[in-house]
Every structure is written in C-alpha cells, then in structure tokens.
Symmetry: C2
Subunit: 138 residues, 2 copies
Amino acid sequence: MLSKKTQYGLKALGYLASRYGQGPVLISEIAKKKKIPIKFLESILLQLKNKGVLDSKKGKGGGYFLANSPKKTTLAAAIRIVDGPIAMIPCVSLNFYQKCKDCDEATCGLNKAMAYTRDATLKILEKKTLYDLIDTEG
Amino acid sequence: MLSKKTQYGLKALGYLASRYGQGPVLISEIAKKKKIPIKFLESILLQLKNKGVLDSKKGKGGGYFLANSPKKTTLAAAIRIVDGPIAMIPCVSLNFYQKCKDCDEATCGLNKAMAYTRDATLKILEKKTLYDLIDTEG
DNA sequence: TAGTAGTCTATTTAATTAGTAGAGTATTAT
DNA sequence: ATAATACTCTACTAATTAAATAGACTACTA
C-alpha cells in the first residue's frame, strides 16, 4: 500500500492537473476540496516542488501549479518522490536498489518473481500520467 | 514495499517449497539458512499455519512443512496473509476494501489508474506460486 | 507598506513494525 | 514413564515511520 502521504500527494496532483493553465491554486483550496490536513499537505507540495514537479508563486494571488503539462509527469515519478521505491523488495528496485545479504540474485526465486512483478507495475505507472488522475466530472 | 516480515515469510516459504515432500523442517534451520531472527520467524510461520498454508509437527523430528504442493499456493495468497492488501490504495483493494471518504469512485481518476495497476500486479501474483520461489541452485 | 500566501524548522503524537523473552504444551525415542 | 525436543502462545520492548501541529520567516503584489 502507498502511504497516506503519497495518497494525499496523488489526490492533490490530480486536482492541480484539472486546474492546469488556470494559474496558481491555493493550498487551502486543495486541502479543502480533497480533505487533506493543510499543514501536512504543505510539506508534500513543497517536496514535489523541490523535485520539479510543481512550481509555486508567493504573495497575493499565489499558490501552487504544475511545473509542466499534466502529461509530462508520470505516476511512477510522483510516487517515487513521495513514497520511495515502487518495487516490492529492495533487491529489485531500480531507483532505490539495495543488495540482499542472504541471497544470490542470480539464483534467487523470489528475486525473479518480484522483478517480473515490478516490470508489469512499471509498465503502467511509467505510462500513466497526472493527466489520468483528472476526475471525469466535478 | 513489502514489510520486512513479509519478505521473511516469502523467503521461508521458498525454502520450505524446496524441501517439499522431505518431511518437517526445523524453524532453526530455516532461520539460519535465510538469516531471519528466529523468534520473529516463529510468529510468521504460525500465522501461515493458521491460514492453512503451512502445517507443523511437534516434538522430536518435528518442524514446519507446506500443507499443500508448492504450486497450490499463490504469491498473492501468501502476501495477503502476512502483509495484507496488495492494491496501492484501499478503495481498489479486492480483499481489504475501504471506501474513500472524499471521492466518488465512479469519477475518480486515481481510482481508475490504481485499479488498472492492481489488475496487472494480480495477474502475475495470482499465477506465480511458491514453486516459483525455489532457488535455481543451492 | 500592509496584507496575503508560500517556506522552513522543529516538535509532538500515534501507529506500525521489528525483535525479544520466557513459560507452556505436545510428541517421540528410549 | 520420562527426558529431550520442538512448536505454541502471551506479553513486552525498542525502533522506525507516519501523521499532524505550531510558529516564525520570507517573498510578492496591490
């Protein structure tokens, strides 16, 4: 399961995607619409900004907005920023790889199965983008 | 990511799969071979036994063993027992479903994307079994 | 220059995960 | 029988991560 933090982040990104091209959106507005604790949301958006997914404008009329078109950011990228690894075990993670102490990857059955699962998951998450998070109504 | 507990569980199941049909295996042997804290492993194996995946024999010559042929237990089943949901968000989980408070599933973009991802993951994890966890050597 | 709105640091609380300890119970070989 | 073996069960503790809060600071715009 994705952490609550990541779930909040994806909800927020979906909302910002639906408002793309319409100028900055207040954190407070996102928080209210998506029912996310505002201070918690602040830190999530900041993190996404620091990684280049979001941009913001300070002062009156300020707020957050997507740094790029919704189709430019994949779900895989967003999840990696907020949640970390997408793979189910560290020794098959592409971006957060960690070696197993107790097994040889060349012969490990678990490694093979999980690498296969990772590929199937990534095939989707690398293709789906923030654009796909836009709600079909409301 | 799967919890450490689940990773341990899968390693242990892989080992027991490789020893299927050869009688009970000591917890201590599994712990040693797979470098798992023995007391922690105890509780994992017990949990798997209570769900019918494993069986055990007490006393001298006792130990744990698979309750069924390795191909009978899917990775999805094993993961659900130890880790819980396989889906990335609760509102698309088949076995641990929880309704979103803040969105309508019929129109939610995130819901759609995650349901799609879940299907791809399950397609593999429902097909792969403990048999696939057997190491190709050693 | 006042007010708005994001930025940043630090702290707290809660929950979950990971691991430990030890007494209890069933089984089997002798 | 009984001693040794090996799983069972309950309880506890430590470590880590998630979640949420507080408040001072900075930048921007009207």
